[in-house]
């Protein structure tokens, strides 16, 4: 077990929120075709409000802090927020489209000691990338910004969201990342719109193509292990939990709403009305999420995929039951291994039948966390 994993497990066992994802705005200068956000400002937290929240997060033990959006640089006070976060000694990661980063911004990011900048790139071809972002010359501007960041010696990760429009371009984006000396991650997350509109799910990769993704050695390391048939869960596995959502991780919206995870839209409290630790420790919703063990899962507890499935409780919640199966993850488990899931067998399906689309990370194994 790596030191980082050990620390993560310790935080999980102690119920310490070691990592927080904070969206500082939903406003954006791009209009990506797959984006799930409403880009209007419905009353974002002010600079002072966010600084106050950061103070509370530091006191609560948060170490890993991700600033995201929307586009974070749409906030004129963004550097002030990062500066405050760094003065509180958070490990800061920024997710951005980078379009607004020039030499001066890149220098400032380095001076502030930001750990990593994750940047969305959809294709190495401008006509494909710009058609997805709906911002002319956005690929050119993003790539130029990545060069500025790399010149400062900053770590850059290129996040490549895969969808029907760019499915064949992942090799080109990987090559671009290598040329820019940036890390590459596959991030094929297509989520329903915040207002419940599921039309964007038509953009997701069809199941048969998932199989090709999983069997591509350029995209998946340790393929033999990744695609191995599942092992039956043990008694100990049934005592475990799904993921870190609500245990050692949570999400904060630009309006101060706290959720177990960015993909788990269960409101647990608002920071304009309550202290962070009161929500974290005492919110009935947070406590409910935290109480769910593998043995409590209505279908998945009897599934052979239990310990290797990336089952997302947030996606299950979106489907109607946070203890139920997440169809999108059933689909992934099936196409990864060729072995039907308990949910498929229950429904008498020989192949998965998506209901809400594939909204979780594809290249991911999230083992059940077993309490110490």
């Amino acid at each position: 077990m790596s030191l980082m994993t050990e620390v993560g497990q310790k935080a999980f066992n102690l119920g310490v929120p070691i990592a927080v994802h904070m969206d500082v705005t939903y406003r954006c200068n791009e209009r990506c075709v797959h984006c799930y956000l409403d880009h209007d400002d419905h009353g974002e937290m002010t600079t002072d409000e966010i600084k106050g929240v950061l103070d509370q997060l530091a006191e609560a033990g948060v170490f890993f802090l991700t600033f995201s959006g929307g586009e974070v640089f749409m906030r004129r006070d963004f550097f002030e927020l990062v500066e405050h976060a760094r003065s509180l000694m958070f490990n800061v990661k920024i997710k951005t489209n980078a379009v607004m980063i020039h030499e001066e911004e890149a220098r400032r990011i380095r001076e502030l000691g930001v750990d990593t900048i994750q940047i969305s790139v959809y294709s190495h071809r401008p006509e494909v990338h710009d058609a997805i972002t709906k911002l002319p010359h956005s690929l050119e501007r993003t790539v130029r910004s990545i060069r500025f960041l790399r010149e400062q010696g900053l770590r850059v990760t290129i996040a490549n969201v895969l969808m029907t429009a760019n499915y064949s371009d992942h090799a080109g984006v990987q090559q671009l990342a290598a040329e820019l000396d940036a890390q590459y991650t596959l991030d094929p997350t297509i989520t329903p719109m915040m207002d419940g509109d599921t039309s964007v799910l038509a953009l997701r990769i069809p199941g048969e193509e998932l199989k090709q993704v999983f069997s591509n050695p350029a995209l998946v390391e340790n393929q033999e292990e990744f695609c191995a048939p599942p092992k039956a869960p043990s008694e100990e596995d049934l005592e475990g939990y799904s993921c870190s959502a609500g245990h050692s991780f949570c999400y904060i919206s630009p309006y101060g709403d706290v959720f177990p995870c960015v993909q788990f839209p269960l409101p647990t409290g608002n920071l304009r009305q309550q202290k962070f630790l009161d929500i974290w420790n005492f919110s009935p919703q947070m406590q409910e999420v935290r109480s769910i063990q593998a043995k409590h899962l209505t279908v998945c507890s009897s599934c052979s995929h239990l310990t290797s499935c990336s089952r997302c409780p947030g996606l299950a919640y979106v489907e109607g039951n946070m203890r139920g199966p997440s169809t999108a993850d059933c689909e992934k488990s099936f196409y990864r291994t060729g072995v039907p899931t308990a949910n498929m067998l229950r429904l008498g399906l020989s192949k998965p039948q998506s209901t809400t689309g594939d909204t979780a990370h594809l290249i991911q194994i999230r083992p059940i966390a077993v309490p110490a």
């Binding site: 030191l3 033990g61 170490f63 003065s87 000694m89 490990n91 010696g153």
Partner: protein, 102 residues
């Protein structure tokens, strides 16, 4: 000849947070990650750039842990050298500025 003082200060490039009494430290320059035990955490938290290392060892280590003073001083110097080599601590024979530790 007067004894030379060693001053230690936390680097501004690091992230740090206490978890159950132990300090997690990460250097953003190279993402090296450390956890410090209770004694090392006490030294790290006292690294304000103004208090000489000898004083930190005397007050924060020997005062709170059952340890031989000479052995504690030697261990502290070794610990400081190791963290300095990873850019976590700045070391000088003059007072320094430091980031607060939480």
């Amino acid at each position: 000849m007067p004894e030379t003082c060693t001053y230690i200060a936390r680097s501004s490039a690091i992230a740090a947070r206490a978890l159950a009494g132990e300090m997690m430290v990460m250097n953003s320059a190279d993402s090296t990650f450390f956890t410090l035990n209770e004694v090392a955490t006490a030294i790290f938290q006292a690294a304000d750039g103004r208090t000489p290392l000898r004083e930190i060892v005397r007050d924060r280590i020997c005062g709170q842990f059952d340890v031989d003073p000479n052995e504690a001083q030697a261990d502290a110097e070794q610990f400081v050298a190791a963290l300095s080599s990873h850019g976590i601590l700045k070391v000088s024979n003059q007072p320094l500025s430091s980031e607060p530790a939480r």
